[in-house]
């Protein structure tokens, strides 16, 4: 018999069965569908009381902006948030997954989650998928050991940093951080610096745009400032919008109703069965 004797359950991880089909299609000239990427600028910095995360809000599909105001700062735990850059589906799915793992862990231990827990879960997931999960993350939070800020790269390596930027606008944002960051920033200074860095990405990078989201995390408290700055508002030529110029004067208005053409006969033919 040609069939296998035992049904082997799938081993997990990715299945590459369709790769041959994809290759055949691209040889025939069928281009693959483009990914929805977040392109983007995401940043984080440590200030004197905790962590501030910032992100742009543009999502791109190739050269087109597909979402002008998407949310890139994802909830992980009440005291931990994560910004994601790269393929939007990957960042959403992986942060969602680790967030639920953290919740289960909180039920199990009865304690507040730690940032290094989220870090280890994310980095081992990424490493297992050998870089195919295209999510570059900036993870920040405040736990029992103080404020922490980490970056996670698609292949699974991580960094622990005082200030971090990721995404296509990371160089523009890093230029701002490298020239203006110092330790012991106050909250307003920190928020301003984060906004400046994101705006630098928005205005100098094509993959980033629209508005600035900010999230401030301190011990026992967090502030999620959605659209904290909107430096790209829609501007109309006139504030009144468009108005038609007055051309012809109305001299007379008369309403004549149409004559009825159809005569309704009461009690007509009964409907045929």
């Amino acid at each position: 018999m040609a069939q296998a004797a035992v049904e082997v359950p799938p081993k997990g991880g990715f299945s590459f069965d369709l790769c041959r089909r994809n290759e055949m299609l691209s040889n025939k000239g069928v281009p693959p569908p483009s990914l929805r990427k977040t392109g983007t600028t995401i940043v984080g910095l440590i200030f004197q009381d905790g962590v501030i995360l910032g992100a742009g809000t543009r999502a791109t599909e190739g050269p087109i902006v597909c979402d002008k105001n998407c949310e890139k700062i994802h909830y992980m735990a009440p005291n931990i948030y994560c910004c994601g850059a790269g393929t939007a589906a990957d960042t959403e799915a992986v942060t969602d997954m680790v967030s639920s793992q953290l919740q289960l862990h909180r039920y199990h231990t009865g304690r507040e989650s730690r940032v290094v827990t989220a870090l280890s879960l994310l980095k081992s997931h990424h490493f297992n998928y050998q870089g195919y999960v295209q999510a570059a993350l900036v993870l920040g939070g405040v736990d029992a050991n103080g404020p922490h800020l980490h970056t996670i790269y698609p292949h699974g390596s991580t960094d622990t940093l005082p200030f971090a930027t990721m995404g296509s606008g990371s160089l523009a944002a890093m230029a701002v951080f490298e020239s203006k960051y110092h330790e012991g920033l106050r909250k307003e200074e920190g928020i301003n610096l984060v906004c400046e860095a994101i705006c630098s990405g928005i205005f100098n990078d094509e993959g980033s745009g629209s508005n600035v989201d900010v999230c401030v995390i301190t011990k026992g408290h967090k502030e999620y400032l959605r659209n904290h700055q909107s430096p790209n508002p829609r501007t109309y030529v006139t504030s009144k919008g468009f108005s038609f110029p007055k051309k012809t004067e109305v001299l007379l208005t008369r309403v004549t109703s149409l004559q009825e053409k159809v005569e309704v006969v009461e009690g007509g033919d009964a409907m045929e069965e």
Binding site: D143, P162, S179
Partner: protein
């Protein structure tokens, strides 16, 4: 270097060895320049990289050309030297007329653009990004030419990595009538970011100033850097043994 294998591959295809520039060998990293109150300020570090090795650490990448301009270049150093030689000839020829006129920065920039674009059309480019700055008759001029002949003029320009790291800072913080000290501080801010984040940068830079009076190129000096962040000194606080 793997360029040798590539050259042999070429021999198999064509009649003789390729005589066009295919890739750069010794390269300089970014140059950043701004207009300020009295003229132009230009900064470049003194590194010449041979692939990924920082081989030469005293390469002067800012050179005066004629009475009114400075040329800064990033990219292949030998092509830069060739360009300097051509410009020398051009300036000399102009001087020989002895008619009181001298080539200004706009003219030199135009000449460079033509030269770069022509070479690009022959598929034999001069592998440089050039910045030409100068002052003539009170008019400040700052222009850039790339290796394919793209040229433009602006209040602040940068080459290579400087476009990604320095131009955002300059777009935010440059304004008309910067004083000399402010201009130097701004350039140093850009060069410091480049030093931190560009792997081919060296901490030895020169700043050149050109005004109506003439050109001054500073002595090489180093920038101060700061590495004392708490996260750098103890990155695994709270999770000993992790990385």
């Amino acid at each position: 270097m793997d360029s040798n294998q590539a050259k042999q591959h070429n021999l198999v295809g064509s009649e003789s060895a390729s005589e066009r520039t295919l890739y750069p060998y010794v390269t300089g990293s970014s140059v950043v320049a701004i207009k300020y109150k009295d003229g132009i300020l230009m900064a470049a570090d003194m590194g010449g990289s041979y692939g990924s090795t920082l081989r030469y650490k005293s390469v002067e990448r800012l050179k005066p050309t004629g009475k009114h301009s400075i040329l800064g270049a990033s990219g292949e150093i030998s092509d830069f030297q060739e360009i300097l030689r051509s410009l020398d000839e051009l300036i000399l020829y102009d001087n020989m007329w002895d008619d009181g006129n001298s080539l200004g920065p706009k003219e030199v920039h135009s000449y460079l653009t033509r030269m770069m674009y022509n070479r690009r059309n022959k598929f034999n480019p001069l592998w440089n990004s050039l910045i030409l700055g100068g002052v003539k008759n009170g008019q400040k001029y700052l222009g850039m030419v790339s290796m394919i002949g793209v040229n433009f003029e602006d209040n602040h320009v940068a080459t290579g990595f400087g476009n990604h790291l320095a131009r955002p800072i300059l777009r935010d913080e440059w304004h008309e009538n910067l004083s000399f000290e402010d201009g130097v501080k701004l350039l140093e801010k850009c060069m410091r970011v480049l030093l931190y984040r560009d792997r081919s940068a060296v901490n030895k830079l020169q700043i050149a100033k050109i005004t109506e009076e003439g050109v001054t190129i500073s002595q090489p000096y180093a920038l101060k850097t700061f590495w004392g962040f708490a996260a750098f000194e103890n990155p695994t606080v709270g999770a000993e043994g992790s990385w």
